[in-house]
Amino acid sequence: MKSALLKTGRLVVLAWVAWFSILAASGQSSVPAALTPTTEQRLAALEAYVNNGDPSAALKDAQGNVPVGLTVAGVGVAGPGHNGWMMTSAALVLFMTLPGLALFYGGLVRTKNVLSVLAQCLGIAGLVSILWWAFGYSLVFGKNFGSGFLGGSEFFFLKGVNSAPNTDYAYWVSHNVFSMYQMMFAIITPALIIGAIAERMKFSTLILFVTAWMFLVYFPLAHMVWGVNGFMNGVWNAGATIKAIDFAGGTVVHMSSGWSALILCLILGPRVGFGKTPMPPHSMVLCMVGTGMLWVGWYGFNAGSAVAADGIAANAFTTTTLATAVASFTWALLEKISRGKASVLGFCSGAVAGLVVVTPACGFISSTSAVLVGLLAGAVPFFACTRMKAMFKYDDALDTFGVHAVGGTLGAFITGLLANLDTNGNLSLNLKDIVGHTLWLEQLKAIAFTIVLAILATTGIALLLKAVLGLRPELEEEMQGLDLTDHGEEGYIFEQKS
């Protein structure tokens, strides 16, 4: 009896042991032991960090696959230097809008409308951030639609966008940092439009206009130019239909906003009293302060567009500085020659024009070319703002068209002439046969495409909103100023001394 029990007990124990060893064995086969990278592989990953390359490149076998379980520092983890620079750049680009652009534009309007401009900048910052989180980022940088015109739905609500790098765009920058960096571009672009329509558009309608415009113009265009499978992404997409290049947003940011601004300002009509009543800037001081912030913030915009703290970023930093300084000086010099006085607004306008024109080119051109870019940037938009506007009598209140559309188009075109393989090795990937030859033709195609898209979409949205809600405030409200009528506050209240 006792031995029988003992026998059964042993059997049970044996069965358990057998069961567990089977379990353990099956577990081992589904999760193999972590492989250890060789010292060479670990060193190669560190070198990839220094060279902004792929840390997993040295782990790949002959078939180009990384063995399961083999990993090394830098795979799935952001690199501190590159990541740090991109967070700084993102903050700098936001600084361009808040308060750089807000003050640049705010100083140029009359006292009664200063807050309306600040409110438009703040409103757009909030609105676009929400759109970006929900759909925008995914529509630009996703790819599951498999389309060159619009991204995908995989990153809706920033799903899966975490601190690990998205290697489609950067090996060493966190996906969430990349997303936030690109969001700042999405914020400033529609904010640029408000310069053309300042002092005379209802705040509520503007917010609706921007919402529709982001979906019809910005998100598709940004995907076409910067999306990894974009229709016009010449640098990274071997299958791009239009093999154009745009380093930091000549087409995406400045042309799209500038041409849309012209159309919206034409549909909106001029300010009451335009051409009869004086409408001088209420504070050239604020305007200059804003310009300085734009210039500083633009280093994040241009040098940050390398999406790494590498040599391409360093080159963009240098060309941005030179083009901007030369353009600022050139504009003021032209004023001095043509009418005797160099003005603060002239220096400011020239600086912004220089920044705009060098934007698509900065990462692709030499420092000498940047000086040429600066000269053109000081001269061509100067002509557009001082002569062309007077000739056609459209009320582009703060010269969004003259600076951003004219400057952006000029920049996109001359990028095609001045880009060179020595400055940016990435151009050799897919474009080495056309850079320095027929690239300018591709740029012209991208320019034409961008202008058509901006004009058609803006015309549609603006006419629809005009019919349904109305674009303008009542005459009396416009006369009183939008600060009081749209926002219920005043920019300046000076108390009387008692």
Partner: protein, 112 residues
């Protein structure tokens, strides 16, 4: 009693005020004003837009004085407000019927 209204260039105010005190003027009212005479305004240009500013800043001094010293007061203003360039301003002299000091209800010359 006479009211002397002098419209002068703003930067001349201090000199005129001190000189008037020397000739026995004990108080005055000063207002910052804008206007134009033969000097006209100036032009401001913002990018392509040109604005003519017609009204230039001036200072208006109002002072009521006994008739005996009005000649001396006007002479002083003219002497000290003058730069010799266009836009120096004007002086107007107006008769005053009476004056009242609010605190004491004194009237006439003793109220000045």
């Amino acid at each position: 009693m006479k009211l002397v209204i002098a419209i002068i260039k703003p930067f001349k105010l201090e000199e005129v005020k001190e000189a008037l005190a020397q000739v026995g003027v004990e108080g005055m009212t000063v207002t910052e004003v804008k206007g134009f005479g033969r000097q006209k305004g100036h032009t401001e240009i913002y990018r392509g837009s040109e604005y003519t500013v017609d009204f230039l800043p001036k200072v208006k001094i109002e002072v009521v004085v006994p008739s005996e010293i009005v000649g001396q007061v006007v002479e002083t203003v003219v002497k000290f407000a003058k730069t010799g360039k266009i836009g120096d301003g004007k002086v107007f002299i107006v008769p005053v019927e009476d004056a009242v000091r609010i605190r004491t209800a004194e009237r006439g010359k003793s109220a000045l």
